[in-house]
Symmetry: C2
Subunit: 426 residues, 2 copies
């Protein structure tokens, strides 16, 4: 069997744990079993024709347990190339091909995916992306600041509007709905959007600053487009979407639709059902990185390595790289050196447990192409939510001016109070 690169392949990398298996044999059985079924059963006369449908083993890297490690730590990273001709150019088809039945076959985790140029070309990717979001806000030179509603369930429109205003007035760039706020009689989406956009306008008159409000897009799948149009019609200038509860293709369909003229923010709700196990599921970099960007998320939330909902720093950096890289080789199988990736960047939004004293660390880890996202760090500020927003903006300004934050805080009482309350890191 020859393996030429002339044909288009998508490549899956698996980490596969087995104490005794012949991993090369296992790799072969995956490559054949998930494509043509059986190679030996194919009549000789048909083999030439069937070869283009056959999966290929790209590599098998076996990691034997180190001295003192248990035999159960033995694993191999197996890369299999699947011919594009076998599946349609959508994410469900790709995932069912590479990790449908195989996901149930013992201790195996999908740790990477790369795509053929042709598969990739079927995805317009983020409609706005990082630069587009910056353009809408007119902010090019600093990390953005996002604030999350505190409590929203059981609150009425005036309460929501007041909470919105107190976030906006502090100078935040984006405000998102709580992901657990669904259609409800107190704050239905159109009324909520109207009320919040009024509060945004009021704050803009005072701060001179634009703001994006991501309204939570929820409800039955086949009604999402209508629901989104209602929200946009009422003035929503962004949408929040619980992607994993609906599947990546629904995001892709929404994102590529011409009537969705606003950025989509992907929430990671349910992601913990997939990525944390070392032995099962899908890695965070694939789930919250590559697939979110491919499906067209303009901004992607994921657990930060700083707060209560913790993700190891290494996984965070892998998500960031997947959202920001411009190098086609990171996404495209057999891409030429130095060629540019066709997808716009998705804005990384590391979330949970963020307070102003963490800003130096966030900027060290993520650079300036990041959205600093806070909930309690805004609302819980000792001087109130408006001061909370200001403290974050001061922390960002201090970092960009390269002034140590404890020093910068001397002239900025909101930042000083935040550091006194929550400390300073980095």
């Amino acid at each position: 069997m020859s393996f030429t690169n002339e044909q288009a392949y998508c490549v899956a990398t698996y980490r596969c744990f087995e104490e005794k298996a012949d991993f090369h044999k296992k790799a072969q059985s995956i490559a054949v079993g998930l494509t043509v079924g059986s190679w030996t059963d194919i009549p000789e006369a048909r083999k030439a024709e069937m070869e283009k449908h056959l999966g290929r083993v790209v590599s098998v890297d076996v990691h034997e347990p180190a001295a003192g490690e248990s035999a159960s730590a033995r694993y191999a990273d197996i890369r299999i190339a699947y011919p594009d001709v076998n599946f349609s150019r959508d994410i469900p088809a790709l995932l069912v091909t590479v990790f449908g039945k195989l996901s149930m076959d013992g201790r195996i985790k999908l740790i990477d995916l790369s795509f053929s140029e042709s598969f990739l070309s079927a995805f317009p990717g983020p409609k706005f992306g990082l630069e587009g979001v910056r353009g809408l806000l007119g902010v090019q030179d600093r990390p953005l600041l996002m604030s999350i509603f505190k409590a929203v369930i059981g609150h009425d429109l005036p309460a929501l509007k007041e909470q919105f205003y107190s976030q906006a007035a502090g100078g935040v760039d984006l405000i998102k709905d709580d992901e657990i706020l669904f259609e409800n009689p107190l704050t239905p989406i159109e009324r909520r959007v109207e009320a919040c956009m009024e509060a945004a306008e009021q704050a803009r008159r005072e701060t001179g600053q634009k703001l994006l409000y991501a309204a939570n897009l929820t409800g039955p799948t086949f009604g999402l487009l209508e629901q989104a149009k209602k929200a946009i019609g009422a003035g929503a200038n962004a949408l929040l979407f619980n992607v994993l509860a609906y599947g990546f293709d629904t995001l892709a369909e929404l994102s590529r639709h011409p009537d969705i003229r606003v950025p989509i923010m992907a929430h990671p709700a349910m992601a913990g059902a997939f990525y944390p196990s070392p032995h099962h599921g899908i890695s965070a970099a694939v789930l919250l990185g590559k697939l979110m960007r491919l499906a067209g998320a303009d901004l992607v939330l994921f657990p930060s390595p700083y707060g209560s909902v913790v993700m190891p720093r290494e996984e965070n950096m892998a998500i960031k790289d997947a959202l920001l890289t411009g190098d086609a080789a990171d996404y495209r199988y057999a891409a030429g050196a130095g060629s540019a990736l066709s997808l716009k960047q998705s804005f990384p939004v590391p979330s949970a447990g963020i307070h102003p004293g963490l800003v130096p660390l966030i900027l060290k880890d993520f650079g300036t192409q990041v959205v600093v996202n806070a909930g309690g760090g805004v609302h819980g500020h000792p001087m109130g939510a408006i001061a909370g927003g200001r403290a974050f903006r001061q922390a960002i300004d201090g970092c960009l001016a390269d002034v140590p934050l404890d020093e910068y805080a001397e002239g900025h009482p909101e930042l000083k109070a935040a550091i006194a309350a929550w400390g300073l890191k980095g």
Copy 2:
């Protein structure tokens, strides 16, 4: 805080592993954090009004590690009741509420869900269900037999038709597409359905037996309904659907749609990304049992405990129970004793590694309300695929006649050859 049952709640059960945590405190923080956010922050005057939005701790069962067990084995099963008033009556809203952010919060697995009567009433469930499928086939008194195409990728219509006929002629009741067969130029869905239904008709004239052909429903989410109508228009009398690649709500939307006049068979592709870890994800009984039935799957495939893709028997039985139970108490939180569940049954289809000699074991585990499902066990029969189907039907007949299969095989050469090839169990 009083906790009355007058209000509607959906209840999630989590298995939560922590070496030192105060699990009662943790349970409280989940119940409050995922509903009203914070109880102490709510002004006294508003508490009466907010109480209906507050989550409640139903129970906390702590399992301390046994002597000799590692501290990391310490866990608690925590049950939290979430007020219906907080979420819309769809599966994404429920899952995002109960296991959105929480899924990322350490070692925690969603192991059970029960629903309020009101939430449940929003779901018509399977349109046909087990009895409906039996009715379409006219078979009431025995387990059904299903056969899976062997290899399909790269095959043209005549080859597919021939393979279909050789399965149908052996007496199988259902034939399903391979879940990795997508829209493709060789066998597009309408042409494929026409060819296969012709083969079904040819077999019916010979065997006198009806047959359901589940065509694989694939492609972009917002086009699935049109794609399904095309398949049904071309004669498909069932559909196969990779539910987890699209989300449960898409199944629910399809299943409840009046134009989907055929049973839907749920494939478990990607399920292994969720259920196998003891510490993360969603249990098989919730994922492939309760949620599939709630979303309206008429038949549900899941890994059998017999074959190469193995699931422990206990988990298999839990899925079966979830698909078949008629007791409302298994689904409904605070259901009255002995009340009947409103959902039709979903047909359980344990799959992978099935050969005729396993039929006694399958019937022992599942009774007669089961679909015996085979791929290699039909196609790999020493006397060919037609004989493969017959061998299974003979095995089923022998079991129902209460004759030991080795004895029954004496008068049935196809069964005898199957047992000689693969052995006999149970």
